[in-house]
């Protein structure tokens, strides 16, 4: 089967206990543009990382299955090795050195040199021929149809210019056999995306194969000769160019499983409790751009998007974890998000998605975790010893903790057990118990069911609804599990590329959601 540049056979990869790739097979022909689509966590990036020999893979226990490159079984140990074999990669977050010029970036690791000391001096130690580098770079950029001054520092050029510089670097490699692209058009306008696609087609004509990851379905349909859809680490479907259809792709990507139970939604008067006005959050990898959104008192608002498209940035922005711009009104008063303590005092609280690093004190007991925010943040359970020293009111604490353990069915040996010994689901319950104690008016919950077993999932979702119904807490849930959001939310806001794409009712069709996720608009533009 010499015609294939790359074959992937039965690829499996675990991150700890999580299976992120499950028996993935694909084969890319010489000169083929191969599309790969999938939602967040579908395993796209992991696959790319394996193919490119990224050290993340070997650092987390490697993988099983075969990667066959040019008919030869290979296992890249480093990106250097993969590059040496003629593989290139264009990253979503640019791998450009900001303090170097455009030309230097394009020619980095492949500099032209002039030898002062004759041929003898090794290439690493010969003098860089800047003029020739500049000429080379200019020529490549011209090929791409993109005009920019070679001598600009990369940090000073626009985002789409960066994208082109990165592409130029890869295209300039003479022996490029396979080019991997991770969401390359995400930051480009339509015109520039068109240019890129033209370049890819030309590359393919010259015999370079391309593996193209994107969530922009229409582009995929436009350029790809073959498309594979990944979901939850599995290959869901495979299409050739003739079979491509955006609707099918969208459905395959998001998945069909519609939840059986839908909750009756209460009609309440719409009173805004939080008002986002042109609210931007500079969170690395989750940029949120100019959000305008009202959160109504007493509702459960779902936030969803593909990963990296901004759903998490909303909550973290409110809690002052990243720089923000724009206004956030609480009631009618503007909030100062940097002052986290004040925010919490105003009744806004957040449970983070990264439980291990942000949501729990792993070395502390279940009890300490449950009472932490209430005790230290809001001075609950305090009594004065000798009238001066504040100490814990142990009896009260004991009563409350026992009650919560029972109510939330937290499976632990005792309240003294260290949280790190609990399962993911029970850890999340501990987090919820912690939030309940603070009795917030608005509770942001990030990915509440990630890494949680099925049984606990139900309990956690139930609890969120219960807190909402019984205490009247407004809950904003950011989750990538659309089905769960549909079950508990009153409204679901869908983000795409950092912008609010649509606010949909939970009973909107999967198709509507699919288009909202990918930011495709032709369907609802009528």
């Amino acid at each position: 089967m010499g015609e294939y540049v790359l074959e992937v056979r039965n690829l499996e990869k675990y991150y700890g206990q999580n299976k992120v790739l499950d028996k993935v097979n694909l084969s890319i022909k010489k000169g083929q543009i191969y599309g790969l689509i999938g939602a967040n966590g579908s395993g796209k990036s992991t696959l790319m990382n394996i193919l490119f020999g990224n050290s993340v893979i070997s650092g987390t226990g490697g993988y099983s299955g075969d990667v066959i490159f040019e008919g030869e079984r290979t296992r890249f140990r480093s990106t250097t090795e993969a590059i040496g074999r003629g593989i290139g990669m264009i990253y979503q977050e640019f791998m450009l050195i900001p303090e170097m010029t455009v030309a230097e970036n394009i020619k980095l690791t492949r500099e032209n040199t002039k030898s002062i000391f004759g041929k003898a001096s090794g290439s690493m130690l010969s003098f860089v021929d800047k003029r020739k580098d500049n000429e080379d770079a200019a020529r490549v950029l011209e090929q791409l149809g993109f005009q920019i001054d070679n001598s600009y520092l990369v940090k000073n050029i626009s985002v789409n210019a960066k994208q082109f510089v990165e592409i130029a670097r890869e295209v300039n490699k003479e022996d490029l056999k396979l080019l991997l692209l991770d969401e390359p058009t995400a930051v480009l306008g339509d015109e520039d995306a068109g240019k890129l696609i033209k370049v890819l087609k030309e590359l393919a004509k010259k015999g370079t194969s391309v593996l193209f990851c994107s969530h922009r379905l229409h582009e995929i349909c436009q350029v790809c000769d073959h498309v594979t859809v990944l979901r939850d680490g599995q290959v869901i479907s495979d299409y050739t160019k003739d079979e491509l259809d955006m609707h099918t792709l969208a459905r395959d990507m998001i998945g069909y499983d519609v939840a059986a139970v839908k909750k009756e939604h209460l009609n309440r008067e719409k009173k805004e409790i939080l008002k986002f006005q042109d609210f931007s959050v500079y969170m690395p990898g989750e940029y949120l751009d100019g959000l305008n959104l009202d959160v109504y008192q007493g509702e459960i608002l779902g936030l969803t998007s593909l990963s990296g498209h901004g759903k998490l940035a909303v909550g973290y922005g409110v809690m002052g974890q990243f720089p923000v711009r724009g206004e956030l009104l609480h009631g009618s008063a503007a909030m100062e998000v940097k002052n986290v303590r004040r925010t919490i005092e105003q009744g806004i609280f957040l449970l983070p998605d990264d439980r291990k690093n942000m949501g729990l004190l792993l070395e502390h007991s279940v009890r300490d975790n449950i009472i932490f925010s209430g005790f230290y943040g809001r001075n609950l359970f305090q009594k004065k010893m000798g009238g001066i020293f504040p100490v814990k009111d142990k009896k009260e604490i004991e009563r409350y903790v026992e009650e919560q353990i029972e109510k939330l069915e937290i499976k632990c040996e005792s309240a003294d057990q260290k949280v790190k010994e609990l399962s993911g689901g029970n850890q999340q319950k501990v987090c919820i118990a912690r939030a309940v104690l603070v009795a917030p008016k608005v509770l942001f919950v990030m990915e509440p069911t990630r890494g949680v077993d099925i049984g606990a999932k139900e309990k956690i979702l139930d609890m969120l609804v219960q807190i909402n119904r019984e205490q009247g807490t407004t809950i904003v849930v950011a989750s990538s599990e659309l089905e769960e959001l549909k079950r508990i939310s009153d409204r679901i806001a869908v983000f795409c590329e950092g912008k609010l794409s649509q606010i949909l009712p939970p009973d909107a069709s999967d198709e509507e959601f699919a288009f909202a996720f990918t930011g495709e608009e032709e369907e609802d533009g009528q």
């Binding site: 990106t79 640019f94 050195i97 900001p98 170097m100 980095l108 690791t109 860089v128």
Partner: protein, 349 residues
Amino acid sequence: MMKKVRKDELIVPVTFIVFSILCFFLSGISFLFLAEQVALRFIRNIILVLALIFPIMAGMGLNFAVVIGTMITQACFIIVLNFNIMGGRGAALVLLISLAAAAGVGYVIGRLLNKVRGREMVTSIVVGFLANYIYQLIFVAGFGTVIHVFNKKLVLSTGIGVKNMVDLKTFKEVFDNLGVFRIGKAKISMLLLVMIIVCGFFVFYLMHTPLGQRIKAVGMSEEKAANIGIDTDRVRIIVIVLSTVFAALGQFVYLQNIGSLNVYTEHLDTEKFACAALLAGGASIRKAGVKNAFIGVVLLHTLFVLSPLAGRNAFANASLGEYFRSFVAYGIIAFALVVNLRLEQKGEK
């Protein structure tokens, strides 16, 4: 290509110049004497300062472990003397084995620093201290016990341990005979001068080679450099090897010029003063060039020569000037650390 000089790069050098001028008038010495003193110290110090540039470019910060390079040269001098190899042959041998040993030790330090990413600076300090005491152990206790003494002049009367002061005249003469360059009363061997110029040029040249480009790329973003296909571990090791070798060479020039060796104290604090000099020249812990090294050494040593004299004249107390001097040396490092790390923190947010 003309580059604009940024304001914050100028603050430190300008402050140094202002203080130096002030001290110059307070000290009341002749300009010629000052020039002679500074030139002498410049020659002795510059290569060690150049040694610091590579690690900064590779994003590893101030490499306080350069002190190990200086110790290696000192050790080589003693060992060669112990075998009674004198004169030109001895000097050449010292140079050869000290550079080779520095490369080997540099490799080990590089490996070590790769294991403590993000904390290279503090680790390099501790490694330097550790090496200092191992060095002392060898020459205090090793000589005459484990190591056989061939040259009785080296050791103390008890037969164990090297003397505090070792004479290196036999090597100095070789260099001085090959032509000297005079500034006032100070004599500087032409050969040493050539070595310095070659070193300065080498650093400049290296930055314009593919290796230099890789070093810069690693320094600006290690993650990105790795993803472009640069073996960052290797680049970082090369950088530390170069740095250690330069330090060894620097100490060779220094001792050659002085003509004697304080076995246990000559190397102490040299690494910190070298760092201070580089920073005085307008470098930061993220960015440094040959220019910073040359300017910085002149500025720092001008102030170092003047401040004790100024202290004696103005306050009738030379020690005040010395305190001021050490405050300047350490303070500038502390200042650079705080300013740079704070900027980095802001950049992350």
